[in-house]
């Protein structure tokens, strides 16, 4: 692994021209893949090119992508949060309990997002405050958060949500554009600005590339990491509101396994799992790629678990291809 780290720090004497760099970038490659899948799908199924079908397909990835934006920042900073799906479950359980007690829609949203923030703060405290490795901490909190849902709900389910609560997961802002999809676009823009156009974003990159240098340049490493975990918790809370509203019910097994899909989305989007590199644009395109793949396969009647094979292969192949390409280039 030390080789990987040192290879990352090599700076070429001359950079290629702007266009050639852009064309060779991960995002453009991924965009090409997305277009290919789109074209393939529209040939494979006559139901694919339909505005409403495509709109339905966006629900496959919008909620996961919201979390993936925050997760991308976290991964760029060299940390990871595997507890996001469990946070969704806990926030959904909290909202369900509140709805049962007769709390209205605004209160439910506040409770869902608040639960996410509290969980994120807890992770942040353990990782940034006590300086523990995030991968094991969040494996632990993942059990803990979902475990609390199981204690509360057992094999029961909450199902009585107020009618107005359904808007977040089922409402449409205009024509085929769902509330979730619009929120996804807004959040993509917000995270893009946060990562690429603010001081905070630069600090995230610096921490991911060289935490020691970051410390010596006076970047409050712990504070930045804490904020990132808080953000991830917040986004998990938002995703929980959308998902709960869309499903209209809560079980403790809600969003099971999503942490893997979110991480896949982030890595597929070109974010280096070693930290220090990646863009929000990449994550957005990756979200579309994953959404299109699952939707296209769904139209072809491929069962969900078989789709997960494709997602897993996609993850490994997209990471392996650039490595193999570089290897071949070095040989010649």
């Amino acid at each position: 692994m030390s080789d990987v780290v040192s290879a990352k720090r090599v700076i070429p004497d001359r950079l290629g021209s702007r266009t050639s760099r852009l064309l060779a970038s991960w995002e453009v490659l991924l965009f090409g893949v997305a277009v290919l899948i789109f074209v393939f799908n529209s040939f494979a199924s006559p139901y694919f090119l339909n505005a409403w079908n495509l709109s339905d397909a966006t629900f496959n990835f919008t909620e996961k992508a919201m979390i993936a934006f925050a997760m991308a920042l976290l991964v760029i900073a060299g940390e990871i949060d595997l507890s996001v799906a469990a946070i969704i479950a806990l926030a959904s359980t909290a909202m369900g309990a509140a709805a049962q007690a007769g709390i209205g829609t605004p209160g439910l949203v506040a409770i869902g997002i608040g639960t996410g923030l509290v969980c994120g703060a807890f992770n942040g405290l353990l990782v940034a405050g006590l300086r523990l490795p995030s991968i094991v901490v969040t494996i632990g909190t993942m059990s803990l958060f979902r475990g609390i849902s199981y204690i509360v709900l057992g094999d029961q389910a909450y199902g009585k949500y107020p009618a107005s609560f359904a808007y977040f997961g089922q409402g449409y802002v205009a024509w085929v554009f769902s509330f979730e999809f619009v929120l996804f676009i807004v959040l993509a823009a917000a995270f893009g600005i946060l990562l690429h156009a603010t001081n905070f974003g630069r600090q995230v990159y610096v921490i991911g590339n060289n935490e020691f240098a970051a410390r010596f340049s006076g970047i409050p490493v712990e504070r930045v990491k804490f904020i990132l975990f808080l953000l991830t918790g917040l986004m998990a809370g938002v995703a929980s509101v959308c998902l709960t509203s869309r499903l209209g019910s809560t079980r403790p097994s809600i969003a099971q396994g999503w942490e893997l899909e979110v991480v896949t989305m982030v890595v597929l989007g070109g974010v280096s799992i070693l930290g220090g590199a990646g863009t929000i644009a990449g994550v957005v395109i990756a979200a579309f790629v994953m959404g299109l793949v699952t939707f296209g396969l769904g139209l072809l009647n491929v069962p969900g678990i078989v789709m997960s094979i494709f997602v897993g292969l996609l993850l490994i192949i997209t990471i392996a291809i650039p490595i193999i390409a570089r290897r071949i280039k070095e040989m010649s």
């Binding site: 494996i139 059990s143 475990g147 199981y150 078989v306 094979i309």
Partner: protein, 329 residues
């Protein structure tokens, strides 16, 4: 350092003993040898998997695909047994270990040759292997009446008071101790996780060592596949879903550093037993089994806090910090 590690194992033993004593005041008979043997037997598969996971973690990697590997191998073996009841059990076990080792080798190869971070590789193969279990079975189940009597009964057969399943676990514990402490591979695993740079200068092939660690973990997962299917007398796609986290938890509780290079076989076994005792005690003392997940979550978090303190005391904070970053990243 050595004394500290020893403390950890003694400490865990004391905690487990205290827990057993505490539970037996609430539920008489909990501490009886028969029940303790039951708990051990119940934890056997977790112990076997935790030892494989430990080998991988020692080399600064992680294997999240063990449970999916177990599900696929278990399904393959069960279906073979259902289709060809005449095949000898030994052949099926060899097949289980072989398939498991092959799936582990795929992980290992991707980590070794392509240098893809282990967490990414095994996240990917985790979904692929479980998906393959579905493709293989078409979503169907293999039930007890389809499996042969030998296939089902061998792990349960008592020998010298313990079922064979327990004896297999004991053999593997001894084997793991021997391999990790007495064979070049074991020492290479510790070295390549503890200090990769020094390991390279010492002539250790880190990539190859990681590859072997994944093969070992895969082979043990494959063996566990057979044991699981036979013990629970059913095979379906979702068996042992999420079990990979239990194996990581057992390692973390047992004091195996997620940053690599630190940990002992006794620690991993005690970590697994710790989880096993809790799991078996909850229904006995009248706590809903639904609480088990939250409790193991709390235990993992506490264990991580405790580990970090112990490692920090050893005065290796700079190395640890970097290592932790590389693994977690």
């Amino acid at each position: 350092m050595n004394r500290l590690l020893k403390n950890r194992e003694i400490l865990l033993t004391i905690i487990i003993a205290l827990m057993i004593a505490g539970f037996s005041t609430r539920a008489p008979g909990f501490a009886e040898p028969g029940n303790l043997a039951n708990i051990f037997n119940d934890t056997s598969i977790l112990i076997i998997l935790a030892l494989g996971q430990m080998t991988v973690i020692l080399t600064k990697s992680i294997d999240l695909s063990v449970a999916a590997n177990l599900a696929f191998t278990g399904m393959a073996v069960a279906m073979t047994n259902a289709a060809y009841p005449d095949l000898p059990l030994a052949l099926l076990i060899v097949m289980a270990i072989g398939i498991g080792a092959f799936l582990g080798a795929i992980n290992g190869y991707l980590v070794w040759a392509l240098r893809i971070p282990p967490i990414v590789v095994t996240l990917g193969t985790l979904t692929i292997y479980r998906g393959m279990a579905f493709v293989l079975s078409g979503g169907g189940w293999v039930n007890a009446h389809q499996m042969g009597p030998t296939f089902l009964n061998i792990p349960r057969m008592p020998v010298l008071g313990l079922p064979i399943l327990s004896w297999i676990a004991i053999l593997i514990v001894l084997g793991a101790w021997f391999v990790l402490n007495r064979l070049p591979f074991g020492r290479a695993a510790y070295a390549s996780g503890g200090n990769p740079t020094a390991a390279i200068y010492a002539g250790i092939d880190i990539g190859w060592t990681k590859f072997l660690a994944f093969v070992v973990s895969g082979a043990l997962a494959g063996l566990s596949g057979y044991l699981w299917v036979s013990r629970y007398a059913v095979a379906y796609v979702d068996i042992a879903a999420g079990f990979e986290l239990d194996t990581v938890a057992a390692c973390v509780i047992g004091g195996i550093s997620i940053a690599g290079g630190i940990g002992s076989v006794a620690g991993a076994v005690l970590g697994a037993l710790f989880l096993g005792v809790i799991k078996n005690a909850l229904p006995v003392i009248g706590i809903s089994p639904f609480a088990q997940m939250a409790i193991s979550g709390i235990v993992i978090v506490l264990a991580v806090v405790f580990n970090a303190r112990a490692e920090r005391k050893a005065g290796r904070i700079i190395l640890r910090d970097r290592g932790a970053r590389e693994v977690s990243a």
